[in-house]
Amino acid sequence: MKLLFQKLRLPLIAVALVTLAALVAQAQDPRIQTASLDHLAAKASQTVDVNIDERLIRLAAKLLSDKDSDEKEVKEIITGLKGIYVRSFEFEADGQYTAADVDSIRTQLRAPSWTRMVNVASKKEGGLEVYILMNGEQIGGLAVIATDDRELTVVNLVGPVNLDKLAKLEGQFGVPELGIEKAKPKNDQ
């Protein structure tokens, strides 16, 4: 048995290292996976999936006007982004999605790669969680989980994001109205 373990030690270490590297890489990926929510589409009264990839974002950034102040601000936000992805579910009754559904997204947003922003809240009712992924000094991605009794929305921006101007994207490029606003820092989180 001992001999067998000695023989397998190196391959086992190699497998463990590869698995660890894959997990770390996954944890640092600014693109979050939402396939675990697919089953909710059958129960939802409304499901929206938005995929705007880097190519389309670059084109939009090129076409947005520098003269119009609103367009200029949106242009500043999306320039450099590599993707805008939204999944939103609306239900006609309470309790159609579970904590496990939300946790399947939260588990991808763990420290040390991802940090939850505690100074962001929503004007709307329900919960709002905003997470950022840091790439050195710069934000490398952002994830928003908005929950209500009858609504679940996941927004994922891949690439550098200006948090102060994030609200400007609401209602555009498939990003729903989330009512994002800066809140007073909470000490209990």
């Binding site: 409304q46 499901t47 995929n51 389309l56 076409l63 498939g174």
Partner: protein
Amino acid sequence: MKTIRIKALAVLSVTLGLTFVFAVLAQAKGDDFNSIVKLIEHFYGVKHQGIPFLAKAGMKVTTTAAKIKGGSAKRLAEAGSVKVAFFEDQTFAGDFTRFRSSLNAALSQTWTPLIQTLSATDKEQTYIFVREADAKYNVLVITIEQREATVVQVTLSPQNLLLLMKDPEGTGKNITQEATIIDQE
């Protein structure tokens, strides 16, 4: 003599084989519109109607046409680029999540899914796909309701694609309305 005949047969077989492969590839790349119409027909067991039948499309289209003509209509699609297939007064019953998977699989090679909306309660589905076409963009809008469906393919300028990206749902609806109305005129 026998060797020459075998060689000739081999060349002919290879030529026919290559022709078939190129034909399939050309169809796959160039005519996704027809493939999607066929996919809907096969999945839901329905039959699409050609453009002449649109004249009989009824009050709904006529009302929308009147509304658009009276308002600030903006032509989105490039001239001559519109393809429309209309399914009217037929039943679209089936697992829409399975349909969505089939649709995404059929288009994933050349098209990017921009927005997909599903309503389990109203049994409505809308899919918008985009692909580059030289300096412009092809947009495929598929709308399926309980009793009717529309498949529209148009070419958009980059400026109009920007409108679509800024408001995918609203602009997608406008593309479908515009295509059905313009083709009726």
